[in-house]
Symmetry: D2
Subunit: 467 residues, 4 copies
């Protein structure tokens, strides 16, 4: 395999930096930073508008220069949309790539834009803007999957399904209870994701290298022009939230992946021929290169493993932070890949389950066949309790006579559990109302964000376009 | 070391269970469950009151029998307070230990109390009640440490301290900025802990084995009588929150431990003789068994490592859940030790830092001595920017003349950074207001909880006592 | 729950150390160190003999004084065996507890024993001696479980069992192949555990605080008198192996727990009524507090979760080490609990599976019933290949005619796979030979260790006993 | 940021598989599998030669057909070397891409090559061949860094350096002791990496889908023709080693990264101006976008964080395996990225440190200046011990008189510690011998591998070339 061996290259330097060191430090940033192009342009636009407004004479930038910069940022965003924007190795990252482009096109003006900020607070802002957009899409993905699960639950509300504990048959349950349990799980997870969204929705910019600047910058103005909720106050703390914010988002992702991986595990189990409760939609199974008969639940298996990867990414990010000294440390760069991959894996996993749930075939006969007599043992106990026998005594009597237990009608059994949250006590309207609230939240947040962004990027020229 | 080798014992059985299996399954539960005695008694009290209120004829329990049970539960709590309550190996856990005691003392009445619930939803409730109490104390611990940090920050607001990035000298900063950064960090972490508190503040009881019961139980009544915020609706989902709830709390603990371990790392570094910025209070250092001169920051080193342990516990709990099939699985028992240890380590770590911050000696001379000329390089750049030079040009000019940089007055340098959140722009009143809100929240929650608990445990007899 | 709230105690000091700090730093050491009593005594015995042999005038200890110390160490070991040896909070750890006892009983002599060593290299040695003993027992545990699996495999060599991939039916297999796969897994794992054993079998003592001493200590003599393989050369490196050695052992434990948890998962699945291949021995199942019919595989579920805990412990230990500065750091103390728990959980998990495998009921009829026609699809393909058809063509033909596939005789199907390592090509003699080698290795190592220890602890008095 | 939002695409199908499912299941395999092209071709060559040798009539392949296949595999390898070989989405992975190419070029012959194997055992073999090559390079990387550290250690053997514990000044030490401690650390780590190499050096092929085939395949022949050490016996176990083998390699990587990250942490600390012991070579530092004076140790910080990532990858892989049912599960695909990234990060981290150590400037004056009087406290104690005073008494005397301690000559202090492994007792020849053994091992293994590979790929045509 020697041909794949890289030659031990003679060390060379690029500028003052060893080429080896440059490759080692850039890592995968040049590729990963492409995800941040739009965010970086928006952040720069807000910064530039604020710089121009500072009470300095002469001003850092004139209104006309601001318009120039904004237009050029718009052009970068357009180039990126067309796949034409590139980050070069010498740029090291998106921030210097944008500054270089602005300087190439606008000369002196481009050399002014980095006033009063550092790449450290820039990337912190970029990641937050990126995450804001992703989180809104993600909450929507979760709402869509919740809706699919609730549709299934309503439709199969009266379909019996053996409830299990320890993976063994336990008590009468229903497909409706099973499906809506995961829907409610996602609604709980949305609380965690929404908290992460709110913690994320803050502006770190103005921290510069973490210690502020002796210039009259207006951090609140940047916050408002980006449609963010508030400014992170202490500038050193602003730097410290880098990594921690990503960790909080990955922790939320972990909660979601737990819910999804448990749902996947159930779908794998219950679609095995030994159970036969469900069939996955045929177009979501894959075959084997050697066994012609196979139709495997690969998507669900991969999801189960990707849950492990998202959890691993979250744990890694937390560990990178633990015990690091205050102020920026370059270690933080290694947060980026786990963060971006973690979000992407969580969102694609959420999305892929939606058509699987929508296309799930429910085999009611197989579900009913599984109701053997012992499933009703606890119901027998509780019937005797209802007639006055102490619970523990009834329990021991039924236990002693397990062989004589009679099978009951499973449909009747699940209809009898009417208390809150039981098979016959599910409040689907409440689930729907909660879903509607979530969708409304996403809609309003997205509108606010888009409104801020479009005001921010508006120039005399662009306004002209509308006439 | 052969004497410590356990003999390979001949297998025996306890009841129907192999003694090996019993030891393996009980694990450390008998010891750990002692933490849950009060919670288990309160949960049982609420359950019993609800059982008695069910519209059944004859009722499961009469009002007089309820009083008997409540009084006996009070006695168990009192025995526990005195260190007299024990869980036996044959009990396996706190739930059966309490049921056994009630049955021994109250006969038939004791045999009725387990009606309509299982140990699985009992332990879920117990852990939530335990956590409710712990979380309130924990938020208070955090508030206390925040107050100490703010006191230090205010007092040293004008004390210069070199700000660092990459652990290298970067820009002028202050002890006030440094200390309040950690205070603000704790205030952010409180948001995460409070979300965990609210997710925890729900009642899972009534799930029974996860599938509800064919009895007219009133889950909302239990919720109210325990002073909890709401009932977890879907009973299967109620079971699924076991472990996930603990994971969310441990995730919050992880966020806190990151803040504390970074603070500790700074204290270790900055109290090294090479820096000499701070001295730790003498009574928090420990010596060496061989080197007579040593005074080591053991507490801070241990805290750094315990942060790793809390993170590890959080990761373990999430993994135990990942990919598990729906319904209760015994795997969940292994969540208990990491959960209890994680809370305990986080709280003791928060508490131990408070007297260290309170007793910290700040060496202003050493702090000022560290201000060598290059610390002011960026200030020089920005001064030229303020006079009209493009930033990037000023940057390159200063870089070219680094050897000629002049040292400035550090006190003046930090006084010049006046924008929001910078050394001279810190809003201590806002920090205090936030702290007051947090303290108020804890006070109100605790009062509500205590009020509910005391109503719950009130019997005719106990009311009599007040006359 | 306020009664469990600890009062916020007024800080006091014990000696020069705050009582809070003492409690925080001692952590659980006082309890955990009881595991190390014997190891600490042996290490001290070896150290004392070496001290007495140093070419100093006067010698640190005379031969008679050495005998005194050795006898007292023997008495401590005996007290420990009887449960009478205690570590007090003021001792902080086992090392000072032993030194205190020796000084109380032997005066001046006790004050000499700590010459040329520190607690750091003492605990490093203690953990290695403890681990040496544990690892030998552990390898034996693994050999015993391997033997049980091989017994099962031989007995059921010709019992058909559907082989699965993606948890779906794949191809004909046998119980013999299945059981011996786990046996071979354990034999591979033994390679990893044995490497850990050999890395562990080294003497760190003489590092003192990590930098050696200006005394003519003879480290090799200590190594030999404890029956260890070699001395760790560089004294700073000796300190650096603390934690890393434990991590390597926990990594080996992780490999073992993977094998055991996969075996457990299979046993859980295949003993579900839907499969019915196996029944677990009745005395290893446990019941439910609410459902009288339940017999749950709790041991196996707990094992699955304990695998997660052992992995978590391993990850935590590695993280505690990562990025720590050279030389001893107190962070290392936090390695102890995960290490001791990790070893204990791995050993008890290995041991508990042995009687489960020995008592497993194999239901041959259920195993055969599972052989539906599609299980033979690949065999049909390969039959056509053997007759000259290109594989991919045969594959597509069989795939097109899946509905017409005929069931074959499963016993014949597994008898036809005769190549190395297939159902009819298993080499049980090779497995047995390997097992014998492993047992021999353990026996020889243990004898060598016991021989060294008994020479070490021999005194004039004890020799006298033998006459 | 809406332009980056992917449209919620209408589901379509590719063949029988939903396009969403295909994208989700392929993941990053198409890109990652490019690392495995050579390995896949070699594995196929060995398999094809074995197939042709099976005693079947007609044979699966004639000698001429084998030559055709081998030549075409050589052409694929050549195309790959030139960057011209591509894996298409419809191929899903390297295995089908190679089969497709062979079938396109060789028709019927290509359709025969998958006889008796599955993609599962193919990828298992590919990863082992890939790892074999990587591990040999990696051990060599480690040897090179060890050599650099030993060079430094020898050169600075007599250069005093304050030894630290708890990051505080402890006892006299030397740069030689410090540098050789890391060298010895790497030599220990090589033991772990070598064990991983030996466990990896086994042939899983012939497992097919995990259950063997009813064909007279000769697994040992494949093993020998690939230059591997042995065949994994049990075919189901062969499948079970997938993931576990990668985990063992990542565990070894974890051990190495611990050593490297501790070295990096020391280099970061000791090159801070407050210490000034070392200067990193200028071309390995990087600047700041805002602070002109900065020269940061970015490489070392990133290494510290990449250690966390390698540990995280290892933990993730272990968790993917834990509790999975026997036989292949698709979850295993997610092992690939952490595995490939983990190896790459470990190797590049090892390599980047070599020029940093080689170019390190050692500031002997700063190192000596750090020797304040208290560093000699323990030496004073031990001097009194050597003159007959009990250690604990001498310790307390020195402790009582710490303020009067005299500074000694550090060069003399380190010259006095002459026992094995102390500052004046380092055995550099032994280090060199061990290094030579390691290099010899790599050389012999590589030659054996290359010899096997070149025999394997030799065809009548290629032999012709040599004439």
């Amino acid at each position: 395999l020697s041909n794949r061996e890289e030659a031990r290259s003679t060390p060379t330097t690029v500028g003052a930096i060893a080429s080896d060191a440059l490759a080692y430090t850039a890592g995968r940033d040049i590729e990963l930073d492409l995800e941040l192009v739009v965010a970086d342009c928006l952040g720069t636009a807000a910064h530039v508008r604020m710089l121009a407004g500072m009470p300095l004479e002469p001003p850092i930038l004139t209104p006309a220069e601001v318009d120039q910069v904004i237009r050029e940022l718009g052009a970068i965003m357009e180039d990126h949309r067309m796949g034409r924007f590139e980050i070069q190795l010498a740029d090291q990252d998106i921030h210097l790539a944008v500054e270089r482009r602005l300087t190439e096109r606008l000369g002196d003006v481009g050399m002014r834009i980095h006033t009063g900020r550092s790449r450290n607070d820039q990337v912190a802002l970029d990641l937050r803007l990126y995450a804001k957009d992703q989180l809104l899409g993600w909450i929507e993905d979760m709402a869509n999957l919740t809706a699919s699960l609730l549709r299934l639950a309503r439709q199969e509300e009266a379909t019996p399904m053996v409830g299990r504990t320890h993976m063994q048959k336990a008590m009468p349950s229903s497909v409706g209870l099973w499906a809506s349990a995961f829907a409610e799980g996602l609604q709980d997870d949305t609380v965690v994701v929404t908290t992460a969204y709110e913690l994320n929705d803050r502006n770190p910019l103005g921290s510069a290298a973490g210690y502020g600047v002796p210039l009259p910058i207006d951090r609140g103005r940047v916050t408002r022009s980006l449609g963010l909720r508030r400014t992170i106050h202490n500038v050193l703390h602003a730097g410290h939230t880098r990594g921690k914010n990503e960790a909080a988002i990955l922790q939320a992702a972990g909660q979601v992946m737990i819910t999804l991986s448990r749902l996947s595990q159930d779908l794998i189990l219950f679609s095995m021929p030994e159970f036969g409760y469900f069939s996955l939609p045929a177009e979501f199974g894959t075959g084997s290169s050697i066994m012609p008969q196979k139709n495997n639940p690969d998507v669900l298996e991969l999801l189960r493993a990707r849950a492990a990867r998202v959890l691993g990414h979250g744990a890694t990010v937390l560990e990178i932070l633990r015990g690091s000294a205050s102020g920026y440390n370059r270690d933080l760069q290694e947060v980026k890949q786990p963060f971006l991959e973690g979000i992407a894996m969580t969102r694609s996993s959420t999305r892929i389950l939606e058509p699987i749930i929508d296309g799930l075939l429910v085999h009611r006969d197989a579900l009913e066949r599984a109701f053997t007599a012992e499933v009703f043992a606890t119901d027998h106990v509780l019937d005797q309790v209802a007639r006055g026998m102490p619970f523990r005594e009834a329990y021991h009597r039924v236990k002693a006579g397990l062989d004589d237990l009679s099978r009951q009608d499973p449909r009747e059994a699940i209809a009898r559990k009417r208390h809150e949250g039981a098979t016959a006590g599910l409040d689907f309207d409440a689930y729907d109302r909660r879903l509607e609230e979530i969708r409304l939240f996403v809609r309003e947040e997205r509108e606010g964000f888009e409104h801020a962004v479009s005001s921010l990027m508006e120039t005399d020229g662009s306004k002209g376009h509308h006439h």
